[in-house]
């Protein structure tokens, strides 16, 4: 297992660890992975659309869960006991991960107010959907509640948090959070950390022209970190190094809330929206990557066929923290994707145990999206990634269909998705 400290960075001293064997980026024993603002906001909007379920407590609680566990581990690992240094490290991690910028100096053990003009969710929401009519930074609320408890050595659920103004709203020019010591106003979950990872036995992959290991090393070494505002504008999107377990918790709590109320119909309603979030991700992030100068310089020169383009993006996906991705057989007609320790299945099993159906929604949407981009959208021609192009590519939903052949969440060794041309 390779370990790396970010010693070469001028502005960050976030101690992260790259676990190449399991394709994970780990900070304070919490797996963190790349996703873009399109995915983050689409996922949250899908959940909040179902306004008959009380989603805010779990949208906040999921962030408190990961932040508290991470900060406790982190403070202990780097031996930071001093309140000021703890706040500094936590604030630095927040900015490094692309969540925005926060000055935690204004909070005390009893609580306080934190404000910022730069919060990823607020910026992202406005950029994707326009003005919001309500606060959208539930992730930051939870993150603050969990982090405050860790800083002050308090039990996990010791703070309530409310976003009192949000820059996503037309009327507000900053995001402001009021933190109070006391009973939490969010759902309390037990942190699961890395979950159960497995020894990977990579499958043989058909001959191709892509240097998988070289790409993994090169992309993993790129300094995709927050700028002075704590945002990561890259590949035409705002990236975040989000907590895998945040996505997992909010997606699965959403699905469970619907299935508890409406049975199978609830799952049938949640599933296409969660898969669609994966489409959105593939279109914007994969599309942005495959038309970037970095792609042109590092990967494109070796690509001889469209199949190579698929392999090239799969190689990049290995550096995103999503698990080990493989494409043993690639063709325009049918491609098989095998994912070892996909983060959705690992998270589900750690949180809830085995599932009776596949939960690799992001993966399912992403692989369909990739096939559409390469074989239908002709990504090699560098199309403009506009909403019109998106609708044209995905709306008909007639080009490619995914079939989950095996699922780690249901007890299989790996997650296998076959994507077939319709």
């Amino acid at each position: 297992m390779a370990e790396k400290q970010t010693k070469n960075m001028k502005t960050y001293s976030v101690p992260y660890r790259l676990d190449f064997e399991h394709r994970r980026c780990v900070v304070g024993d919490e797996p963190m992975l790349f996703h873009c603002h399109h995915y983050n906001t689409f996922l949250q909007r899908s959940i909040e659309d179902a306004d008959y379920i009380d989603s805010q407590p779990f949208l906040v609680g999921a962030a408190a869960e990961v932040a508290y566990a991470q900060m406790q581990n982190l403070f202990s690992a780097v031996n930071v006991g001093d309140e000021k240094r703890r706040k500094q490290l936590a604030g630095e991690l927040f900015r490094w991960a692309g969540f925005g910028s926060l000055d935690l100096g204004t909070i005390k053990e009893t609580g306080g107010t934190v404000s910022t003009p730069h919060s990823h969710y607020a910026v992202a929401w406005k950029s994707k959907f326009g003005d919001s009519n309500r606060p959208v930074c539930h992730f930051v609320e939870g993150w603050l509640a969990g982090t405050a408890a860790a800083i002050y050595n308090q039990p996990f659920a010791s703070y309530s948090v409310e976003e009192t103004s949000c820059k996503s709203k037309h009327s507000d020019n900053k995001c402001e959070f009021s933190i109070r010591q006391g009973k939490p106003n969010w759902s309390v979950f037990n942190p699961v950390g890395m979950g159960q990872l497995h020894d990977h036995k990579p499958l043989p992959v058909e001959k191709n022209n892509v240097d998988y290991d070289g790409i993994l090393n090169a992309v993993s070494g790129m300094e995709l970190v927050g700028d002075q505002n704590g945002l990561i504008p890259a590949f035409g999107v705002y990236l975040t190094r989000m907590y895998a377990n945040y996505y997992n918790r909010i997606s699965f709590e959403f699905e469970h809330a619907l299935s508890n109320k409406f049975g199978k119909e609830g799952i049938d309603v949640a599933r296409p929206l969660l898969v669609e979030a994966g489409h959105v991700c593939a279109f914007n992030t994969f599309g942005g990557i495959m038309t970037s100068p970095e792609w042109d310089a590092l990967i494109k020169p070796n690509l001889k066929s469209k199949e190579d383009w698929v392999h090239g993006m799969v190689a990049v996906a290995n550096s995103l923290g999503w698990g080990r991705w493989q494409a043993p057989h690639v063709s325009e007609k049918e491609t098989e994707f095998v994912i070892h320790d996909d983060y959705e299945s690992v998270g589900y099993r750690a949180m809830y145990g085995k599932c009776d159906h596949s939960v690799s929604y992001l993966a399912e949407g992403a692989v369909i999206g990739l096939m559409n981009l390469v074989y239908v959208g002709k990504v090699h021609n560098k199309p403009a990634f506009t909403p019109e192009f998106y609708n044209d590519l995905f709306k008909r939903n007639t080009y490619y269909k995914a079939e989950v052949v095996s699922s780690l969440a249901t007890g299989d060794k790996v997650t296998t998705i076959k994507v077939k041309k319709v």
Binding site: E265, V269, H279, N397
Partner: protein, 86 residues
């Protein structure tokens, strides 16, 4: 013994047109973004269950209450971002 009858009648205008619901769903599919119909289905889920409808089987002959139709129209307008014409 007198029995009080409280009969209410709906005028033709008050009754939903038989295919109004289908027209709204179809309009959302044609004018909304990808998976707009899935969003519509999610937004209406409690009402759909109450109504006893199977959303993905809504067709030209599907009837529903005025309340459901109003909710569908309102959600359609929000999702597409333009006033639903049906």
């Amino acid at each position: 013994m007198k029995i009080a009858l409280n009969l209410t009648y709906k005028t033709e205008e008050e009754l939903p047109m038989p295919n109004s619901l289908f027209k709204i769903v179809d309009w959302v599919e044609k004018n909304g973004e990808v998976q707009s119909v899935a969003r519509l289905r999610a937004k209406l889920l409690p009402l759909t269950c109450k109504e006893g409808l199977i959303f993905h089987q809504i067709g030209p002959d599907t009837n529903c209450s005025n309340q459901y139709l109003d909710a569908c129209r309102s959600a359609a307008t929000e999702i597409v971002g333009n006033k639903c014409p049906f």
